[in-house]
Each structure stands twice: as structure tokens, then as C-alpha cells.
Amino acid sequence: MLQLFTIRRVKKATHQTVRLLIMVAITFFGLLFITFLIGRVVPIDPVLAVVGDKASPEVYQQARLAMGLDLPVWRQFFIYMGSVLHGDLGTSVLTAKPVLQDILRVFPATLELAVIATCIGIFVGIPLGVFSAVKRGSFLDHITRVIGLLGYSLPIFWLGLLALIVFYAKLDLLPGPGRIDVFYEDIVDPVTGIMLIDCIIAREWDIFWNALAHIIMPATLLGYYSMAYLSRMTRSFMIEQLRQEYILTARVKGVAEWRVIWGHALGNCAIPLITVVALSFGTLLEGSVLTETVFAWPGLGLYLTKSLLNADMNSVLGSTIVVGTIFLGVNLFSDFLYKVLDPRAR
């Protein structure tokens, strides 16, 4: 009977996975559809965006035909979908390069920032949340709540600007905007695209330290927001879990308090927290739009903003699709982890 049970578990898991993949496929299709629609309703002449203001009428017409704008809309959608599925997101007007290539170039910078920020969120925010749930009403709890409240209320771009003024302009403690100092540009070959790792590979230690110093401010800033979010969520999850009967069971067994909290209660929080961390990671990707603008950080957010301001719709939609897909991927991954970690969801 128990063997049957195992087989059922496996079958159920397969079934669920297939279902999940179908769901993701549908979502992805919807995502494409929305981006396509957005691309169609822009009040900007897409041809003009390509050929510029001073182009002659012949040049204009030629570009228009090349872009397939004379075809019926539904055919344009299928062409669009087909090319996106082939990894062709069109060519950026701004950079004259395929959008995908651009994104692959700028994304590691964003990833670098988001990963470090998420780590700050996880390693500071979660313990903070746990402590404040355990010691509710204590000084630490109040601090955590204040941190959370500020994180939810301060405009990130404003805080970023102030940080820049204080730590760079006035105190001269940290380097200014950018990923590295300007004159270090283009010395290290982008292998992974992640500056810190590339410097290690190239053994350019000066540049490594320089890059590290540059990342401190934006990463801490983003990390602060992630921390605010995670500590708040952890706190409420922990309070919920500490109220559960099984916690009492553990105490009855004589389990030490730290193990009750960090083992039993946090173990159960881990599952919803995965979703929250995934969400927070996603929010960081979007939070980077503002942070990157403030810190002139050459990542996806800055790329997106520039494209927007220049009405470079291919890049805007391409980035949207890419970020949406990453978001989907992260969610899928968190769902997967959820299934692995939570025996009830298997």
C-alpha cells in the first residue's frame, strides 16, 4: 500500500509539472500578446524612430516596408511571436544592435546588484524578522518595524540621491556613480558580464576593489528595501507559526528554545519565505530601474529607461519580455522549490 503511495506521489508530481508548464506557456503567450499590443498603440511613428527626423521620403518608405508595417495586424503579431520565439527581439534604434544582444550585455550588471541586494535581504532581513517575532514589543522589534516602515515609505530614488550626496560628494567615503571609475573602462574582458567575477578571472585586483567600492552604495540601498520587505514578512510568518500547536509539542518534548525557533518555526516559514524571496528578487529587478538611473549603473533598468525616453520600442518591449520571462522563471523556480520543500505540496 505504501509502495502504491510512492507511485502516486511520482505520478502526481509529473501531472502537476505538466500542468504548471502549460500554465507558464499560456502566461508567456499572454505576455507576448500584451507587449505586442503595447507596441501597436504607441503614438510614436516607429519608422521615424528608426530613420530620424531628417530622412528623405524615400528612405522613410523603404524603412516602413522593411519593418513590415504595411501588413495586417494579425500577421504582424504572428511574425512578432515567431521572431520572439527565435530569440529575435528586433534591433534597438538606440544602440543599432539586436535587442537580445544588448540585454545580454546589460543584464549581468543588474543581476550582480540584485543578487547582492537579495543576499543582504536574506542574511539580515530574515534574522531580524525572526528576532522581532520572538521578542515582540521589544526594542529590537520596534527597530525592525521602523526599518520596515521606512523601507516601505522612502522613495528609493530620493534616498539614493541623498546617499550619493552624503557619501560621495560631502564625505568622500564611497566612489560616485557608475560601475567602475571611468578610466578603468574596457580593461577587463566581460567573460561573465559580472564585473566582480570578471576582475577575479582577469586578476585585475585594482579594478576589482574599485568595482567593489562602487557596488556598495547601490547594493546596500537595494538591499535595504529587500531587507525591509523580508523582515516584515518573516516577522508575520514567524508569529503565525509560533502560534501553532506543533511548537507547543516541540516545547513539551523539551526542545531548546533556539531550536524551536530556528529549527521548527523557521523551518516551516521557509516555505512561504521562498515565494517572498522570489518576489523580492523580482521587485529588485524593477527597483533597479530607479536605482540604476540614480547611480548611472549600466544595467537593464537604465537601458530600459533610456530606451523609453528615446521611444525605442523594440528595446522597451524586448526588455519587458525578458524581465517578464525572468519573473516567470523565478516564480516557476520558487514553485518548484516549494514543491520540493513542502511535503504537503508534493
Partner: protein, 302 residues
């Protein structure tokens, strides 16, 4: 018995004599609970002040927020200009006062658009389940699959910058979480015996959803929306900051911050004042939301 006492007694009566007394008693208890949370009351006061300022803007603001005066530009704080003047000589205090209208406009409109859409989609989806649920939740998921700000950006790109478009973009991206919450609540409620009971009284789906399920979803939605208001203010400000939200010369706080950025080194007040305004208001909504959660949604923490 003093009259206050008598009122209290009437309100807290165990055997109310009319539906009005029952509702009043309930409200009184909720209010008493809420008033105990000093931070939340503080938040509420700020929001009330915001509304008053917005309403009486013409009387409060000493200057026209749009009239430029090149001679008087970039003046520091003074008795004539409490918050100084900006790069074309407009009075920043007046602009912030008038800007409160835009802030209210944005959050009000987003709440009016997003909340009903979210609650209707969520409750319908949750109550009926099956195919309807699948379709509605797919749509919701598609919108949720985009990071909020980026979807808003894409919409703004499509519709063109401007505060109306920013509102639409934010509203479009705000409803899915509400739908999710409403659906989740509905599913729990739907299986409750009291819904079975009302079905057994012969009530139809519309009556059940509007009369029995929605009122129960609303409290957690109100909490969520209040907390979201802070986020909406920040998003709107962020859009303004990127030059994609409210457009100059309108005194939107985010756009003001964005302009102020160019003068950050020598003229700190240009960015500090609107930034602080954004912060204070979104903090107020956060405090109020936290307080409301304690009153309306006792399940969650606190």
C-alpha cells in the same frame, strides 16, 4: 450616570435593540481598538491633513504654483517662500500644497479603478471555480508575471507620458494582487457552512457574492489597498522622476524631485522638500494600513 457613560453603555450593550445600535456598537469597538494604536492615528491625521490641504489648496498656497518668476529663481527658504523657490522661480511650498491634489487624484483614481476590478474578478473566480476560475486566474497571472513598475513603464511608453496615463498604468498593474487576495478569501469563505446555509435558503450567486462574500473580503482588501497606497505614491513619484509620469509644469512631487536633481548640489531644497512630502504621505498610509490591519484583519500579525 454621566452622559458619556450612558452612551458607552448603549454602544456596548449585549442586547442591542436595533440594527443601528448593533452596527454602532460594532463600529465603536473597532474605533476604540483603532484609537489605541497611536501610530495609526498619527497616520490617519496626516492623511486627513493631506485631504484638507488638497481641498483648501487655493487658500493655503501663498502663490500660484505655475507662475514663473525668473528673477526670483532658486531662492533659499525664507519667510516669503517657506520652502524656497525652484529653477524658474516658482514657490515650492505652493507647489507642494497644490501637488497634494495630484497625489490624491492618483491614489483615489487607482483605488477606484483597481479595487473593484480586483474584488469582482477575485470573488467571481473564487466562487465559481472551474473554467471561469482558470481563465480569470490566467489573465491575472499574465499581469502578475510582469514586475509592476516595468509593466507600468511599458504602458506609459505606449500611452505617452502624463499623469492620466500613469494612473491607468498603475491601475492596470495594481488589480491582480487584489484579485488574488479576494479569490483566496473567497475560496476559504465559499467552503464555510454559512455560505452553504445561505445557498440552502435559495440565494443565487449574485446575492451570495455581493451580500455575503464581498463584505468579508473587503476588510482585508482595505488593509491591503491602504498599504498599497504608499506603494502607489512611490510608483507614481518614480514615474514622475523618470519623466514618464506627471509632466512639467504640473506640481507633481516626483516630477519636482526629478527636476530638483539637477540642482542637488547647491540648492538642496529643490529635491528635499518634495521628497519629504512623498515620504511623509506614504509613511502615513503605511501607518494607517498597519493600524487597520490590527482592527480589521486580526488573523495576521499583531
Amino acid at each position: 450616570m454621566s452622559s458619556t457613560r450612558r452612551w458607552q453603555h448603549w454602544l456596548l450593550s449585549d442586547s442591542p435593540a436595533s440594527p443601528f445600535q448593533a452596527a454602532a456598537g460594532r463600529t465603536y469597538l473597532g474605533l476604540a481598538e483603532f484609537l489605541k494604536n497611536r501610530l495609526a492615528v498619527f497616520g490617519l491625521l496626516i492623511i486627513a491633513a493631506l485631504i484638507l490641504i488638497a481641498f483648501f489648496a487655493p487658500y493655503i498656497a501663498p502663490c500660484d504654483p505655475l507662475v514663473t518668476n525668473l528673477v526670483n529663481r532658486l531662492q533659499p527658504l525664507s519667510a516669503a517662500h517657506y520652502f524656497g523657490t525652484d529653477e524658474v522661480g516658482r514657490d515650492i511650498f505652493s507647489r507642494i500644497v497644490w501637488g497634494s491634489r495630484l497625489t490624491l487624484y492618483v491614489i483615489g483614481l487607482v483605488a477606484i479603478i483597481a479595487a473593484p476590478v480586483g474584488i469582482i474578478i477575485g470573488t467571481v473566480s473564487g466562487y465559481f471555480g472551474g473554467l471561469i476560475d482558470t481563465i480569470l486566474m490566467r489573465i491575472t497571472d499574465i499581469f502578475l508575471a510582469f514586475p509592476k513598475l516595468i509593466l507600468a513603464l511599458a504602458f506609459v511608453a505606449a500611452l505617452g507620458p502624463g499623469i492620466e496615463n500613469a494612473v491607468i498604468a498603475i491601475a492596470i498593474t495594481s488589480w491582480p494582487p487584489y484579485a488574488r487576495i479576494a479569490r483566496g478569501e473567497t475560496i476559504t469563505i465559499r467552503n464555510g457552512d454559512f455560505i452553504k446555509a445561505i445557498r440552502l435558503q435559495g440565494a443565487g450567486p449574485i446575492r451570495i457574492i455581493t451580500g455575503h462574500i464581498m463584505p468579508l473580503c473587503i476588510s482585508s482588501l482595505i488593509v491591503r489597498i491602504t498599504l498599497d497606497m504608499a506603494g502607489i505614491i512611490l510608483t507614481a513619484a518614480g514615474l514622475g522622476f523618470l519623466g514618464l509620469g506627471a509632466q512639467p509644469p504640473s506640481p507633481e512631487w516626483g516630477a519636482m524631485t526629478s527636476t530638483g536633481r539637477a540642482y542637488i548640489i547647491d540648492h538642496w531644497w529643490l529635491i528635499t522638500m518634495p521628497g519629504t512630502a512623498i515620504f511623509v504621505v506614504s509613511l502615513a498610509f503605511n501607518l494607517l494600513g498597519d493600524g487597520l490591519r490590527e482592527v480589521l484583519d486580526p488573523k495576521s500579525d499583531n
